[in-house]
């Protein structure tokens, strides 16, 4: 009977629970890692996780960042604060067959195309130059209708699903402007922005144009409103034309200068919808720093039956599902890259994200890969672009370490390059606001939300607090 009781007890939770509890009470645990000590240092850079490109102050120990913070008057978002952990995403891919990928592109039947999911960078110009050099090369970028807005002039902001208060623009600018505009959020499910909006209007998908017209009817046509749409719906954005917002809240901004030779040798920018079906034999997708994505359903018909798809990414969660080759890309804060001008900036800017830690071996630089296909030497492309900006003599340079802004005329070319690498931002001179050209008949852009891996600590927001789970 005793043996029976002993055997039966094993099928109850009690003995197993005792093992766990005794381990806890005796603190019989394997030990935890203690980070090596060292003198803390400060580095300044820019966050490359989105086009806001916020100024970042990194606290480093032993050449590793241990925390990130915003620079005075320029806070960074939760994503930016956890940005130092991006390289440690558990799904990060470490290996890729770059040699065979390059061979596959060379052997491909049909046109070679690059889909750039963060256009406007120096790397984007490399892609354009490479595609111009390759026979039949095509440069593709997501089509955006609204490229620059002037938040300071907005009194009423009508957002159709755009996460205005949750990552859409530069946090410091949005928060500063928030005191002056009322926010109407229109969307099917109440988002984080919807919770904080002055008014949230639920809408059935498909009814957006009608709702936009009704709201526009109640607003003055004095250029003080702004209509945004997360899906870039032309019928919604057209209200900006109706209400006279062009040139006031919706503006055209000068491009950040590039060397003249680049402009002459660059391929035109195409929307993928305008490419002929079954014409692309090799598609290279730079999605490592994607801001938006293009639905695969739009891409697939453009590929030949034997097309090779190569994607540069940190995880396989995006286009990796459809690609023959997924080449591991470096991520912020391992990369050296420039950040395109933010949508809420009225002047062109040029900022660099410089590495706070070394990238692991095996990562492939997408721009270098594409440049090598066209036999272009683009090693010093960033420095060449900085030199061309400096040569214009326009604008000013804000240095983060001392918070001083100096006219570019007072800065030598080598100082300019050094300052950019040490954390600084070039801003173009202010000029009278211009209205953008408006294509009234523009087709609905084919864009969708990009797959962007979140840093490991985001479990705090998504799982442990449910803070982001309330959004829908």
């Amino acid at each position: 009977m005793t043996a029976g009781v002993a055997a039966g007890t094993l099928f109850t939770p009690a003995p197993w629970r005792l093992i766990t509890d005794s381990a806890i009470l005796s603190e019989n645990w394997p030990g935890i890692f203690f980070s090596s000590h060292g003198a803390p240092t400060e580095k300044f850079t820019n966050c490359a996780l989105c086009t806001a490109g916020c100024a970042v102050k990194a606290r480093c120990v032993n050449d590793r960042p241990i925390s990130l913070a915003g620079v005075v008057k320029s806070p960074i978002c939760a994503l930016g604060l956890a940005g130092l952990h991006m390289p440690f995403h558990t799904a990060r891919i470490a290996h890729g067959d770059a040699e065979n990928a390059a061979a596959a592109v060379r052997a491909a039947q049909g046109k070679v195309a690059v889909l750039d999911l963060r256009p406007g960078r120096t790397a984007s110009w490399t892609y354009r130059r490479a595609m111009a050099a390759l026979p039949g090369g095509i440069y593709l970028a997501p089509q955006r209708i609204l490229n620059a807005v002037n938040l300071a002039a907005v009194k009423t902001l009508v957002s159709f699903g755009a996460p205005v208060l949750d990552g859409w623009g530069t946090p410091s600018k949005v928060l500063a402007a928030r005191e002056h505009f009322s926010l109407i959020q229109v969307e099917k499910d109440q988002s984080h922005t919807g919770l904080l909006a002055d008014r949230w209007i639920p809408v059935q998908p498909g009814n957006e144009p009608v709702v936009a017209q009704q709201i526009a009817r109640d607003l003055p046509a004095d250029g003080s409103s702004l209509f945004l749409s997360s899906a870039e719906l032309p019928s919604v954005l057209k209200m900006n034309v109706t209400l006279g917002n062009l040139g006031h809240t919706v503006i055209a901004r000068n491009e950040t200068p590039v060397p003249a030779a680049w402009s002459k040798q660059a391929a035109a920018v195409h929307a993928i919808q305008n490419v002929a079906d079954r014409s692309i034999g090799a598609l290279l997708i730079d999605e490592a720093s994607a801001d938006v994505a293009v639905p695969w359903d739009v891409i697939a018909p453009k590929l030949t039956n034997s097309a090779v798809v190569i994607t540069f990414a940190s995880t396989q969660a995006g286009y990796g599902r459809y690609a023959q080759f997924v080449l591991p890309a470096a991520v912020y804060p391992e990369v050296t890259t420039d950040i395109p001008t933010a949508i809420d900036s009225v002047v062109a800017t040029f900022r660099l994200a410089t590495p706070l830690m070394a990238a692991p071996s095996g990562v492939v630089d997408a721009a270098e890969f594409v440049a090598s296909l066209a036999k272009l030497d683009t090693k010093d492309a960033l420095q060449e672009r900085a030199a061309s900006i400096h040569a214009t003599g326009r604008g000013s340079l804000l240095s983060y370490s001392d918070q001083k802004s100096r006219p570019i005329k007072d800065v030598k070319a080598d100082q300019f390059w050094t300052a950019l690498n040490a954390g600084a931002c070039w801003s173009d001179s202010e000029s009278p606001l211009k209205a953008p050209r408006w294509e009234a008949t523009i087709a609905t852009p084919a864009i969708c939300e990009a797959v962007r891996p979140k840093p490991p600590l985001f479990t705090k927001l998504y799982e442990e607090s449910g803070l982001k789970g309330i959004a829908s």
Partner: protein, 236 residues
């Protein structure tokens, strides 16, 4: 001598979660995949709240909650290990994981649910350990932890002051207050400043004499501070 306190403007809080992330980075709180809403560790946690209405009259707000740094500490009085201690020099309620035996009496006693139990050993994705803050020791499983106003930063400030021949710690700011994009969280010394007029504290009727002051222009938000009041709760 200091009496550190915090003032939080609920009307300014956008619920972005920057304070939660900054806190976890500063204090080496691990991102455990098996953690959930009940078993996760968030020294500061932002709760979405609403006024209980529907449609156009519905209003929402975000309420950052952390250890309220009580002067009359219910958690310290129940701790059999003296692992909780109110530092009279700073007003900070400290938690000593080395003394904690994991009985969780303090968690039961805390009226603010601001204490968290380590159900698992801390673990980080491979390589991420190198980015831990060397000023803060990670806690082992089986112990309780909570906000301590970034004690590591306070020690660092004190050391810096000592190196300059000063006895008092220079000004320091906890990570949540530093990171808040809207400036909703303000850290201050009650001996040198006062909370803003109209500030209120959570569950004041309990007499815990907390040092986290909240403020809002909305009456229903102030009403939440008095819960439980027999009405429907609106914590999401």
């Amino acid at each position: 001598m200091n009496r550190y306190a915090m003032s939080i403007d609920i009307d300014k809080c956008t619920g972005c979660g920057a304070c939660m992330i900054a806190c976890a980075v500063e204090n080496n709180v691990p991102p455990l995949p098996q953690s959930n809403d009940r078993k996760g560790i968030t020294w500061i946690r932002v709760f979405p709240v609403d006024n209980g209405e529907q449609g156009d009259t519905r209003q929402s707000a975000f309420l950052p909650m952390m250890c309220q740094q009580c002067d009359s500490t219910p958690c310290a009085s129940v701790c059999p290990q003296q692992a909780v201690q109110l530092d009279v020099k700073t007003g900070i309620v400290g938690q000593m994981p080395e003394r904690c035996l994991g009985c969780r009496y303090c968690m039961t006693a805390c009226p603010y649910h601001a204490r968290y139990f380590n159900w698992w050993d801390p673990k980080w994705p491979a390589g991420m350990e190198a980015t831990l803050n060397p000023d803060v020791a990670p806690r082992m499983r089986g112990v309780v932890e909570k906000c301590n106003f970034c004690h590591g930063r306070w020690h660092a400030a004190k050391e810096q002051a000592a190196s300059q021949g000063k006895r008092e710690a220079a000004d320091y700011t906890p990570a949540c207050a530093e990171s808040c994009p809207t400036g909703a969280i303000r850290f201050f010394d009650l001996l040198a400043g006062t909370p803003e007029a109209g500030s209120f504290r959570l569950l004041e009727k309990l007499g815990t004499e907390t040092k986290i002051y909240y403020r809002s222009k909305r009456a229903w938000v102030k009403g939440l501070a008095e819960a439980p009041d027999g009405k429907e709760h609106h914590l999401a």
